[in-house]
């Protein structure tokens, strides 16, 4: 593995302090309703979440932001940041994603000198942009010269890593079960990346009704260990 890919891998580490451990993105609603309760049901939810929702928002955004950076079309990057925020209709999921994006941005600003990252941060400070982890991640990946499909794959992988860790705590599941899910999920991730590469820009922001509804219902879940 070359050096630059290794550098991007640092951002995927679940110890990378973005606050992702506080967010379940609707999973907790299913756990409370006992719809997700073991390794098999978690794997099922995870597959639907990644292939029916995440690919159309964060996944496709990684690709479109990367393409915009190649063309130095920064207006397009800011437009995608806004679209990512506005397509996220459940409030907690929208706010949570923004928080994670903001934390990630603050951190990588200390690790890399990338002008567009500073502009992004300045725009957020002026309330002209919102902050999204997929945008920050892609800016770093592009800066490191990592290929677009690797950026997408690693981004999806890091999302899955933190979700599985959260689920292991919340369901609860054993650490071995968690690792088995991550291992078994590798094929889904490569397929999801191929799906993003083949997508039409018009596919942006498609949501899956049940997932989205559960993200909205999370606001009313009685016992909560997650903020979304």
């Amino acid at each position: 593995m070359d050096r630059n890919t290794l550098s991007l891998l640092q951002l995927c580490d679940s110890n990378f302090p973005t606050g992702a451990f506080s967010h379940s993105y609707g999973l907790e609603t299913y756990i409370q309703a006992d719809k997700v309760h073991d390794q098999e049901s978690l794997l099922h939810w995870l597959r639907v979440y990644v292939t029916e929702q995440l690919v159309y928002s964060d996944g496709l955004a990684c690709r479109l932001v990367y393409e915009a950076l190649e063309k130095e079309d920064y207006q397009k990057v800011w437009k995608l940041d806004r679209m990512l925020t506005m397509q996220n209709l459940p409030r907690e999921t929208r706010d949570g994603t923004q928080m994670v994006g903001d934390r990630m941005l603050k951190l990588v600003k200390n690790l890399y000198e990338i002008p567009v990252l500073f502009e992004y941060s300045e725009r957020i400070r002026q309330n002209r942009s919102f902050g999204h982890p997929s945008v920050v991640f892609t800016i770093v990946g592009h800066h490191l010269g990592v290929s677009v499909s690797t950026v997408i794959l690693y981004y999806l992988y890091s999302s899955v890593l933190s979700l599985v860790q959260n689920a292991v705590r919340a369901i609860p599941l054993g650490q071995t079960a968690g690792q088995k899910i991550i291992q078994g999920f590798q094929e889904v991730l490569t397929e999801a990346t191929a799906k993003v590469m083949a997508m039409d820009e018009e596919d942006f922001g498609i949501v899956s009704p049940g997932l989205e509804l559960s993200q909205m219902q999370h606001e009313r879940v009685n016992v909560r260990i997650f903020m979304s």
């Binding site: 639907v48 049940g210 997932l211 559960s214 909205m216």
Partner: protein, 274 residues
């Protein structure tokens, strides 16, 4: 692409306390009935008709609606929008809506019914000025199928883009694609067949109001699943999964009543045929 199957343009304005049409134009398979004033409020109501009875292969519909300052319009349909088999090209409808300051639009079409092998795409683009009010609702339903299949349509795609003072504030994209998806499973339609969506934008909207609406929802029933959440601007969105149109209409109608009473101090007009 100018080859529209049906075109409808409706521009409205407020004149001496009553909302009237400044311009009405329709052509092809779109028509509006004469305006109706349901009460003394001056709010006008237009019913849209599709004389062809349904959307067919490659049909393309266009609507342009505008409300000048303080204009108040209810826009609805006379019956459900039926999407029939589209073997070659999907049916398409695009609607552009302009809401000037202080205007108020209630756009509540009858349900959209997708029959066997139907492919449909709909795009609503709404431009609002600050202080404009919107209440929008739609219901996606499966058409009757001889073998009882709940999802015999191919795909139904609905996009709502809402701009406030030219900035995107809502991007709502639903695409139900039974040809490729397993609709019944967790995360998708979860055993339900009907999907209702409602978007409300109003400066009076806040978290307390949402709590009040939520109290009206029966959370213990298996008949439906309801989610509501506030938008990044003052307003909120509602999603309902259910097994029939009436269940969703009842929830939307209750919300509509609460909104009308709390914010406009009136009772909403009786539009639907429940």
């Amino acid at each position: 692409m100018q080859d529209w199957t049906g075109v409808l343009h409706l521009d409205t304005e407020e004149r001496n306390g009553r909302t009237v049409a400044k311009r009405v134009y329709f052509q092809g398979a779109f028509k509006v009935m004469r305006p109706i004033y349901h009460d003394e409020s001056g709010q006008v109501c237009y019913y849209i008709l599709n004389p062809g009875g349904g959307y067919l292969d490659g049909d393309r519909y266009q609507m342009k609606i505008s409300l000048e300052k303080q204009a108040r319009l209810i826009l609805t349909t006379q019956s459900a929008t039926k999407i029939y088999k589209t073997p070659n090209r999907h049916a398409y409808q695009e609607t552009e809506i302009i809401l000037k300051e202080g205007s108020c639009l209630e756009y509540i079409p009858d349900p959209l019914i997708g029959y066997r092998d139907a492919k449909y795409k709909q795009k609503n683009i709404i431009h609002m000025e600050k202080g404009a009010n919107l209440l929008y609702a739609d219901i996606i339903t499966p058409g009757w199928s001889p073998d009882g299949d709940k999802f015999s349509y191919n795909s139904l795609q609905l996009i709502n883009e809402i701009y406030m003072e030219n900035e995107l504030v809502v991007y709502d994209h639903i695409k139900l694609n039974p040809a490729l998806q397993n609709m019944g499973e967790l995360g998708l339609m979860e055993g339900y067949s009907h999907l209702g969506s409602m978007i409300v934008i109003n400066e009076k909207s806040n978290q307390d109001f949402l709590d009040m609406l939520y109290q009206d929802v029966d959370t213990h029933t298996e008949e439906c699943k309801v989610g509501l959440s506030s938008l990044p601007i003052q307003g909120f969105t509602v999603r309902v999964l259910a097994n029939n149109t009436q269940t969703i209409e009842k929830i939307f109608s209750n919300f509509h009543h609460i909104i009308s009473q709390e914010w406009f101090n009136k009772t909403p007009s009786f539009l639907r045929k429940y």
